[in-house]
């Protein structure tokens, strides 16, 4: 029995979506309740830049992988 490697990729995408969801609400809270100061805005921009960098660097590695591969869950024995 073999499972496609892409399962891990989709799992990763779900976790990235959760990450984006939390990011949105954290930024929203800061902008809505966080008293619009320069330090506050700089912090949000810095956070978004570093987040983008992590995602871009990750994508550079992820895009080079062949996600069509499969993983053997049960070892196959040759007679």
């Amino acid at each position: 029995m073999a499972i496609p490697l892409s399962i891990f990729y989709y799992l990763y995408l779900i976790l990235v979506l959760i990450y984006l969801f939390y990011t949105f609400f954290n930024v929203y809270h800061l902008m809505r309740f966080g008293f619009l100061t320069l330090g506050n805005i700089v912090m949000v921009i810095f956070y978004l830049i570093v987040s983008s960098l992590i995602l871009i660097i990750s994508w550079n590695y992820i895009s080079q992988i062949d996600w069509q591969q499969t993983i053997s869950v049960i070892p196959q024995f040759q007679p």
Binding site: L5, F8, Y9, L11, Y12, L15, V16, Y19, Y22, T23, F25, N26, H29, L30, F33, G34, F35, L36, T37, N40, M43, Y47, V50, S51, I54, L55, I57, S58, Y61, I62, I65, W67, Q69, I71
Partner: protein
């Protein structure tokens, strides 16, 4: 001086103090996440040869790439969330009341307030090595008719804040008494 709006601001209300936790608190939190970010490198340095054998595997490498990406994304998110939590927890002292704003998680924001003239007792507490050394601690504010106390948690220079609030409370009580006497005279 303070570039923000007071919740439910009253006419003539001025902000006297805006207090947050001592910066040491957020530094400790961020430092723990930074250590978590460095840990994989230390792990790799110690067990480099063993890990290198696995990484070269066709299956292990993609999973490692995904895991590393998620690991650092979430560490970065937790650092930011720590900052948001630190930044949004604030205590505001105005010339009329004290306001306690607490952000508890993403969807729970608690704002409570108390009139200055209702304050009966203010106590400050410095407990522990770092608290004494860096001069930060808790301030407990007991109000009339309320069991629940207002707590300013881990705020810098608590003695100075207590002195300031005590002075404001005295002024506010005198003003309140004058207003009540004025009302009595008007009624009579």
């Amino acid at each position: 001086m303070f570039n923000f709006n007071i919740p439910n601001a009253e006419k003539g209300e001025k902000v006297i103090l805006l207090v947050r936790r001592h910066p040491f608190i957020i530094l400790v939190r961020i430092l723990s996440w930074v250590i978590a970010a460095i840990l994989p490198f230390i792990f790799y340095l110690v067990l480099g040869d063993v890990i290198a054998g696995f990484i070269s595997g066709e299956i292990f490498y993609p999973i490692l790439v995904l895991f590393t990406s998620i690991y650092y994304l979430y560490i970065w998110l937790f650092i930011f969330a720590s900052f948001v939590d630190y930044y949004l927890d604030a205590w505001i002292v105005t010339n009329k009341r004290i306001i306690n704003i607490e952000q508890k998680g993403l969807f729970n924001r608690v704002i409570s307030e108390q009139r200055l003239y209702r304050i009966q007792d203010i106590t400050s507490e410095l407990k522990g090595f770092f608290s004494t050394f860096l001069n930060f601690g808790n301030i407990y504010i007991q109000t009339a008719g309320e069991e629940k106390r207002f707590i300013f948690r881990q705020v810098p220079d608590p003695y100075r804040i207590v002195r300031k609030i005590t002075k404001l409370v005295e002024e506010n009580k005198k003003f309140q008494q004058l207003m009540e006497e004025k009302d009595k005279i008007t009624i009579n």
